[in-house]
């Protein structure tokens, strides 16, 4: 996978979310991602950035345009925080499981909306979640 364009956005307050979503939107428009795929990506991003704000208070997101071939271009978002980490990742990936007050659809829902979903978490150290959505996939 080759990275074409890279940017880091800090997430500290709830208002940063709107700015962040707009940036992701611009990236998606840049590679001419279809409307449905773009909406799926933005929704997944919205879920993950909320999780970050709730559980880790702050963090950052790396936005990249990635490509694996002339035919497959996409956007990769990497959410990095230094929060408490996820205690039971298997449980966290099941529908309806939550340690907070949400519906428990955040992680499993976001996974269903994107093409590649990758979580690395260390208890007490933080969580890194990387999602990739292909332009036409």
């Amino acid at each position: 996978m080759i990275t074409l364009n890279k940017e880091t956005i800090a997430i500290k307050r709830e208002q940063d979310v709107v700015f962040f979503r707009n940036r992701v939107n611009e990236y998606a428009e840049k590679i001419k991602m279809g409307l449905v795929n773009k909406t799926k990506l933005l929704t997944a991003a919205s879920e993950l950035v909320r999780n970050m704000l709730i559980y880790a208070k702050e963090g950052k997101v790396i936005c990249e345009i990635v490509t694996i071939s002339a035919l497959q271009t996409g956007i990769r978002l990497t959410f990095i925080d230094n929060g408490p980490g996820i205690a039971d990742i298997d449980k966290a990936m099941t529908d309806g499981y939550t340690t907070g007050k949400s519906l428990g659809l955040g992680l499993p829902g976001a996974k269903r909306l994107v093409n590649i979903f990758d979580v690395k978490t260390v208890k007490g150290k933080g969580t890194t979640i990387s999602i990739t959505k292909w332009k036409n996939g």
């Binding site: 709107v18 979503r21 799926k40 929704t43 919205s46 909320r50 949400s102 499993p108 829902g109 909306l113």
Partner: protein
């Protein structure tokens, strides 16, 4: 503080969401709407989301909450104008918003509300018939 305007039209309340929602704004809308329903004893709430590009699980929950809360206060909620991409995403997310009435546009939503209200009134009328 940002607020989403709520319009009162007779027995109904009309909300048109024209901005990108963030969590606090959505929470404010929830409490404002519930207060307005109570204040005007409204019979129906119409929420137009045709300009909303993203509905994630949090917004979906707020919409569901509003529907449930207004039901308790004896008002029907209809969400109208959802964009196709948003609908597909919500289904994939696992959030079919069961319990929320939907309609294609404001006009059809109004008709739906009137039908519901008519049904309510006939049920009440039937009840009184039985009592007499």
């Amino acid at each position: 503080m940002d607020k989403i305007p709520i319009l009162k039209m007779g027995d109904y309340l009309l909300v048109t969401i024209q901005v990108d929602l963030y969590d606090r704004l959505a929470l404010n809308l929830e409490s404002d709407l519930v207060n307005m329903i109570n204040k005007h004893s409204s019979k129906g709430v119409l929420i137009d989301i045709s300009a909303v590009n993203i509905v994630d699980s949090f917004m979906g929950r707020i919409l569901g909450n509003i529907a449930q809360m207004s039901k308790i206060l004896d008002a029907h909620t209809v969400v109208v104008g959802m964009q196709p991409a948003v609908a597909i995403t919500l289904i994939e997310l696992g959030l079919p918003l069961s319990g929320v009435h939907t309609a294609l546009n404001v006009e059809k939503g109004m008709t739906l509300l009137q039908e519901k209200l008519f049904l309510d009134s006939t049920v009440i009328a039937d009840d009184t018939d039985d009592n007499t």
